[in-house]
Subunit: 200 residues, 2 copies
DNA sequence: CAGACGTCGAACCGATCGGTACTATCTCCT
DNA sequence: AGGAGATAGTACCGATCGGTTCGACGTCTG
């Protein structure tokens, strides 16, 4: 039966359902680890519907990564906003939030960086560049508000800590200390960058 | 013609040739981005030869990652050995070496971490865990020799910097400063950890 | 009520996938 | 000299790939 009797016809909702299912399964199994047919089976949609909404598998991948980057960025910016006015507290909030993410079951690293690792062109690379740019903007803002001597430098260093902690948490973090380790390092760099007599 | 007239028959060399070609093409195009047939065409070997040496594509992937991890670890340890006795100099050597790698044309991030991003089981994950463990051992050794208050902590933080710099260099490093940024951060953390009145 | 639109389910397409089998031919070792 | 082992080349296997097409049937909008 096409279109089960009684369902409300809502293209936007259908699109969102495909997007949500694809986001989860692409993250868990990798972009090449699942075919379009299986994906359609999981979400309960037909291939025609998927291709009408996204045009191609690459189009779907692009949409998934776009949406995920937007959501993560909003989520992280939200934790900064609710952390109060102190830049140090904001930094703590960022890494505490990351720590919560690392501890979630099914954590597999950053979906966007992972995607860029397996498709070094297509939409994935562009989304990754933009995604890290957003992170950098957020972190540099904290560095500026803290009065760091070289906020751009500190922002880049904080980005390195963030991405490094994510990789380490994914692949080598027996004590689950990556977020805490990175937080301490971030605090130390912040303190050093805001000291009056600053080193290099 | 099977076995071109005049070639020396050397299974080990054949194996190495396949391994070298696979290492390059897997790194550039991703594990799923190239098929066994194309790979055989590039290296000039037959499928039977490949399967006799490696058993399966996954076996080949495992061998590629194993060999690459060994080689990178030796390479990095070598730069530390030739950097002299000062732990600070050794740390500089590590990140300077990384900076040279980042600047190479065709740099695509850490092949092993990339592989683990697209195959979160199989041999890739185990090799990644071991690979980061080797890095951690190297960095913790530097931290110990420097007399850090908490060498294990500093080692883990240095690992985060190393991996973070690699990711950032791959995806968002317009000024190609990632290695230098990480080096400065590493130096700052080392200085802080070796100060007598140390902050947590 | 009528047409436009959305959707499912299935069939189908050519291409490619990882992997196997076999033959002809060459090198190496005794 | 002769057997054993290694190799290229090719054909082949079933499965799956991304993608297209079509008909039946449903909802939505006028």
């Amino acid at each position: 039966m096409p279109v089960p009797k009684g369902t409300s016809l809502d293209p936007a909702r259908t699109r969102d359902a495909i997007l949500a299912a694809a986001t989860e399964i692409f993250y868990r199994r990798g972009l090449d680890g699942v075919g379009v047919a299986e994906l359609c089976g999981v979400v309960g949609a037909s291939k025609e519907t998927l291709y009408r909404h996204f045009g191609s598998k690459d189009g779907l991948i692009g949409a998934v990564l776009d949406e995920r980057s937007d959501r993560i960025t909003r989520w992280l910016a939200g934790t900064v906003d609710t952390a109060g006015p102190d830049p140090g507290d904001q930094l703590d909030a960022v890494f505490d939030t990351l720590g919560g993410w690392y501890a979630e079951p099914g954590f597999r690293g950053c979906a966007i960086v992972n995607a860029a690792a397996q498709r070094h062109d297509s939409p994935a690379l562009e989304v990754a560049v933009r995604h890290l740019g957003r992170y950098l903007e957020l972190l540099t803002g904290i560095a500026e508000r803290a009065g760091a001597a070289q906020p751009a430098l500190l922002g880049r260093q904080l980005l390195i800590l963030l991405e490094g902690a994510t990789v380490v948490a994914d692949h080598h973090d027996p004590g689950a200390t990556a977020a805490e380790d990175a937080k301490r390092a971030a605090r130390a760099l912040l303190a050093q960058a805001t000291r009056k007599a600053s080193v290099t």
